[in-house]
C-alpha cells in the first residue's frame, strides 16, 4: 500500500474537505507525521510502547474446533489480546506520541463502541495529557462499561446530542471542538477516515497488524492464507491487516453490517473530511447507519477502502445482525474466545460462506474482545 497523492487521494477518493480553519492543522499534521514516520527514534519509541505497554506482537491462534465445524482452516489474528482489548491502541499510541512531539497538550476523540475512546483515554493518561471524548448519547447508553472506563482513566466524556446521536454525530462534535481548540489540541481520529493525512496515518499505525500477520502466516502455513477478512465500519482494523497481504494473491474481504453497507450501495459523497462511499439520500443528506454493533454504526467508509473496492483488489460483503449474534455465540462456544460484535461480522460472513471457503485457509482479524458487549448480548439472548 502506497502513500496517497494529491491532497491525500487514493485513486478517486480521499481529500481534505474541512473548514479553512483546520487546513493549517491538517497540513502541519501531515508534515509532522511524515517527519516522525521517517525518524528512527520515533519508530523505536513507538515499537517499545507497542511491545512493553500494549503487549505486541499479538499472536495468531489456529482454531481447531471452529475449523472442524466450518470445514476449513480458521486463523485468528488476536488483536483482542492487546492492552485495552482491541486494535485501537496501535493507532492511539502512535497519534499520542506524535501529538506530544508536536507540543499538543490535549487529545480530542470520538468514539462509537467506546473502544477508541478507551484507547485514547489510556494514552492520554500514559502521557499526562488532557482528554475529551465525544460519544453519541445512544452509544453512551449501550456502552456504559466503556463510559465508566474512560472516566476512570481521567477523560471527560461528552455526549453528542444532535442527529442520530451515534458515531457520526460524535465525529461532528469532535470536529467542532477541534475547530475551536486547534492551537493546543490534537484530534485523535479513530479510523482510516477523515481529512488527509488521517486515512493514511491511521493505516500506517495499524500496518503493524498486517506485518506481524504476514510473517506469522509464513511460519504457521508456510504460505499466505487464501482469504483475509475483517469487519469494516470506518475500516481501520481491516486496512491494518490488509496492508500485510495487499501485495500477495490472498483474497481480501471486508464485511459491513447490512444496515451500514456503504460500499454495497456505492454512492460517493463527502462528509467528515473525505470523499468516499457514503449512505445518503437523493439530496446528499447523510443517512443513519443501523447495526447491532456501535463500533460499525458509521454511514461512510475510509477512502482507501472505496479505492480498493473500485479497483477490485478487495471485495465488501454484508451480514445481518442475526447472523452476527450467531457468530458471536459460535466463537465463544467453540474456542473459548468471546469476540467483540464488530469482528463477529466477519465471522458471520465466514460462517455463511462455508461452501465457498471449503478447503481454504482463512485469516480473520479478531479486532477486539467481547466483554464490552456482554450487557447488550445478555438482553438479546435473554
Amino acid at each position: 500500500m502506497t502513500e496517497p497523492l494529491n491532497n491525500g487521494r487514493f485513486g478517486n477518493f480521499g481529500g481534505m474537505f474541512v473548514p479553512e480553519t483546520l487546513i493549517p492543522a491538517c497540513q502541519e499534521l501531515e508534515k509532522a507525521f511524515r517527519e516522525a514516520w521517517g525518524s528512527e527514534d520515533f519508530r523505536n519509541e513507538l515499537s517499545a510502547l507497542l511491545k512493553d505497554y500494549a503487549g505486541r506482537p499479538s499472536p495468531i491462534t489456529e482454531c481447531e474446533r471452529i475449523s472442524n465445524e466450518l470445514g476449513y482452516k480458521v486463523l485468528l489474528k488476536r488483536e483482542d489480546l492487546n492492552h485495552t482489548g482491541s486494535h485501537k491502541i496501535n493507532n492511539v499510541l502512535g497519534q499520542a506520541l506524535l501529538a506530544k512531539r508536536m507540543g499538543k497538550s490535549r487529545l480530542v476523540a470520538e468514539t462509537g463502541a467506546g473502544q477508541h475512546g478507551v484507547a485514547t483515554a489510556t494514552a492520554a493518561a500514559l502521557f499526562g495529557m488532557d482528554c475529551v471524548v465525544y460519544m453519541g448519547e445512544v452509544d453512551i447508553e449501550r456502552q456504559k462499561l466503556n463510559v465508566f472506563r474512560m472516566r476512570l482513566l481521567g477523560a471527560e466524556v461528552r455526549p453528542a446530542l444532535s442527529g442520530s446521536r451515534t458515531l457520526k454525530d460524535a465525529i461532528n462534535e469532535a470536529m467542532r471542538d477541534w475547530v475551536a481548540t486547534v492551537e493546543d489540541s490534537h484530534y485523535c481520529l479513530g479510523s482510516v477516515m477523515g481529512p488527509h493525512p488521517y486515512p493514511w496515518m491511521v493505516r500506517e499505525f495499524h500496518r503493524v497488524i498486517g506485518l506481524e500477520a504476514y510473517s506469522q502466516c509464513q511460519d504457521i502455513l508456510g504460505s499466505n492464507p487464501d482469504v483475509v477478512t475483517a469487519c469494516v465500519g470506518g475500516g481501520s482494523n481491516a486496512l491494518g491487516i490488509f496492508s500485510g497481504f495487499v501485495e500477495t494473491d490472498a483474497e481480501l474481504v471486508g464485511v459491513e453490517p447490512a444496515g451500514g453497507a456503504a460500499v454495497a450501495r456505492g454512492i460517493p459523497g463527502v462528509v467528515h473530511g473525505s470523499l468516499s462511499y457514503l449512505l445518503q439520500d437523493e439530496w446528499g443528506q447523510v443517512l443513519e447507519a443501523e447495526s447491532i454493533s456501535a463500533g460499525l454504526d458509521y454511514p461512510g467508509i475510509g477512502p482507501e477502502h472505496a479505492h480498493l473496492a473500485e479497483t477490485g483488489r478487495a471485495r465488501y460483503e454484508k451480514v445481518s445482525d442475526k447472523e452476527v449474534v450467531e457468530a458471536f455465540q459460535l466463537l465463544s462456544r467453540t474456542e473459548g474466545i468471546i469476540p467483540a460484535l464488530e469482528p463477529a461480522h466477519a465471522l458471520a460472513w465466514m460462517s455463511r460462506e462455508r461452501e465457498y471457503l471449503s478447503g481454504k485457509a482463512v485469516l480473520l482479524n479478531l479486532s477486539g474482545r467481547g466483554d464490552k458487549d456482554a450487557t447488550q448480548m445478555m438482553e438479546v439472548l435473554g
Binding site: M16, S162, G284
Partner: protein
C-alpha cells in the same frame, strides 16, 4: 439590471464606495416563515442575504443554527424546494446560499450552479470546501456566472490567505474566531485581526462572520472590515417564534448601528 441580478460583489462594492458598511444576515432556508423573513431583512436594510440550505452534518455550525437545521430537515424540506421557493421570491438584493459540499456534490456541480442561476441566486458559501479542494466547484460556478465565496480563517497562513483573497468571488468571508457559528458575549480579538489581514491584501469586500451577535460587535468589527454577516442572532429570533417581524426589527437595529457607528 436589478440589484439581485447584478451580483454580490458589485452590489457590496457600491455600498462601500458610498461610505457605508455591508450587512449580510443569514436566514435558515425552509424554516417556517423564512421567505417573509428574507423580505423583512431586505426591507430593513440588508445589502445581501445568505440563505442556509440545511445539511445533516453541519460541522461549522453551533447549537442555534443546528437546531433550526434539524427542524427543517425533520419537516422533510429538500434543498431543491428551498431553491425553487427562493426563485419565485420577489426581493431585490443579491442572494447567496450557504450549505455543505455534499449537497452540491450530490446535485452535480454544474447542475447546482445552473439551478442557482435559474433561481437568480448569485453565489454560494460552502464552509467545508476549502480553497485547496475548490477548483471543480469554482469552474462550475464560473461557467454559470455564479460567485463562489471563499472563507479565510484566523489560522490561515499568509500565503494561503493571499490565494483565498485572489480566488474568492463576491466577498472574502473572514471567519471571526476559532470555532463554530453562534453569538458570543464579546467580539473575539481574532475578528479584527483577520479582517485587517484580508484588507491589506485585497480590494474585494471583506466581511466578518461567525461570532457577530450584537450591533455593537458589528460596529466594532466593521471599523476594520467592510461589514459583517449575522447568523445565529437572526436565526434565534425565528426559533423564539418572533417570525419575520422580529427578524426585520433586529436587522434594522444592526443597520442603524452600522450607519451611525
Amino acid at each position: 439590471m436589478t440589484l439581485r441580478e447584478e451580483g454580490i460583489e458589485n452590489t457590496l462594492l457600491r455600498v462601500i464606495s458610498d461610505g457605508r458598511k455591508c450587512l449580510v444576515p443569514y436566514i435558515t432556508g425552509g424554516f417556517d416563515g423564512y421567505l417573509e423573513a428574507i423580505s423583512a431583512a431586505a426591507e430593513a436594510g440588508a445589502n445581501a442575504i445568505e440563505i442556509g440550505i440545511p445539511f445533516s452534518d453541519p460541522v461549522m455550525d453551533g447549537p442555534t443554527i443546528q437546531e433550526a437545521n434539524d427542524l427543517v430537515l425533520s419537516a422533510g424540506v429538500t434543498p431543491l424546494q428551498i431553491i425553487d421557493e427562493i426563485a419565485s421570491l420577489d426581493v431585490d438584493i443579491p442572494l447567496a446560499v450557504m450549505t455543505y459540499y455534499n449537497v452540491v456534490y450530490r446535485f452535480g456541480l454544474e447542475r447546482f450552479a445552473s439551478y442557482l442561476s435559474e433561481a437568480k441566486i448569485s453565489g454560494a458559501i460552502l464552509p467545508d470546501l476549502p480553497l485547496i479542494e475548490a477548483n471543480s466547484w469554482k469552474s462550475a460556478a464560473d461557467m454559470k456566472n455564479r460567485e463562489a465565496i471563499l472563507l479565510a480563517a484566523p489560522t490561515t497562513t499568509q500565503e494561503h490567505l493571499e490565494e483565498v483573497c485572489k480566488e474568492t468571488k463576491g466577498f472574502v468571508y473572514a471567519v471571526g474566531l476559532l470555532g463554530t457559528t453562534g453569538a458570543r458575549k464579546e467580539l473575539a480579538e481574532s475578528a479584527k485581526i483577520i479582517a485587517g489581514r484580508c484588507k491589506e491584501i485585497t480590494k474585494k469586500p471583506v466581511l466578518v462572520g461567525v461570532g457577530i451577535g450584537a450591533p455593537d460587535q458589528a460596529v466594532e468589527v466593521s471599523k476594520v472590515s467592510d461589514g459583517c454577516i449575522v447568523g445565529s442572532a437572526i436565526v434565534q429570533q425565528l426559533l423564539d417564534g418572533g417570525g419575520p417581524e422580529a427578524v426585520g426589527k433586529l436587522v434594522a437595529e444592526f443597520r442603524s448601528a452600522l450607519d451611525n457607528g
